[in-house]
């Protein structure tokens, strides 16, 4: 079990090595949303539902799907 800050709120996650889907379930957030993680170098990546959460992430945000416009 682990404790993570997701969208600015502390969330308890049952799994020791959670994947993206576990984080969404624990946060009670829509299954269609994206899990965005911030790496120590500042890079922001989308974590697929089936991928494990990298241990070194500095931030987790779950958001509606989006794209940048022009």
């Amino acid at each position: 079990m682990g404790r993570y800050v997701i969208n600015g709120e502390v969330v308890d996650v049952r799994e020791d090595r959670p994947i993206g889907a576990h984080l969404k379930e624990a946060a009670g957030i829509n299954g269609d949303d994206w899990v965005m993680v911030t790496m120590p170098n500042g890079q922001i990546l989308r974590l697929p539902d089936q991928d494990p959460l990298p241990s070194e992430v500095t931030d987790v945000t779950i958001v509606p799907r989006y794209q940048y416009g022009h």
Partner: protein, 155 residues
């Protein structure tokens, strides 16, 4: 007083409830009590790498037919003089132009906007606001955009 069941009335009630939700996390939250066409966050914290620790956020709430919450907010407005801390230009951030009268009005008033399009939006209805997408979800997206400084500022 009779309940206003018009589209604008329903949107106003929804925004009133959502603003209470937002105020639990953010300071200085207000909204358009007359037309329910905008929500303003006076102090939205942003991570390091920008030229300020917090910004103002103005969300243009869709008020057509259909409007919010069926339709997601598109774009968001923030401080026009936003820069990276080392002064680089920001992609997808615009301080002039805009196709509508409202857009030009905002830029004239000193706002700049990030061009972001939500591609999947599943709001809940009625009082079950937290069970679907809402303005808190949208502000989480805005927070993710501000963390994406490397992509927006090219490294």
């Amino acid at each position: 007083m009779a309940t206003d069941l018009s589209a604008a009335g329903r949107r106003r009630s929804r925004l009133q409830a959502e603003v209470q939700l937002l105020a639990q996390r953010y300071r200085d939250v207000s909204f358009d009590r007359q037309d329910a066409s905008w929500v303003h966050i006076g102090r939205f914290p942003v991570p390091g790498g920008w030229n300020r620790p917090q910004v103002e956020i103005l969300i243009d709430v869709p008020h057509g037919n259909p409007g919010y919450p069926s339709v997601a907010p598109q774009w968001f407005w923030t401080d026009r003089d936003l820069r990276t801390s080392d002064g680089r230009a920001i992609q997808h951030f615009f301080t002039s132009g805009g196709s509508s009268l409202a857009d030009r009005s905002y830029t004239t008033k000193g706002w700049g906007h990030f061009c972001i399009h939500v591609t999947s939006w599943l709001p809940s209805s009625g009082l079950r606001i937290r069970e679907g997408h809402n303005l808190l979800s949208y502000l989480d997206l805005i927070a993710a955009v501000f963390r994406d400084r490397q992509r927006l500022a090219g490294g």
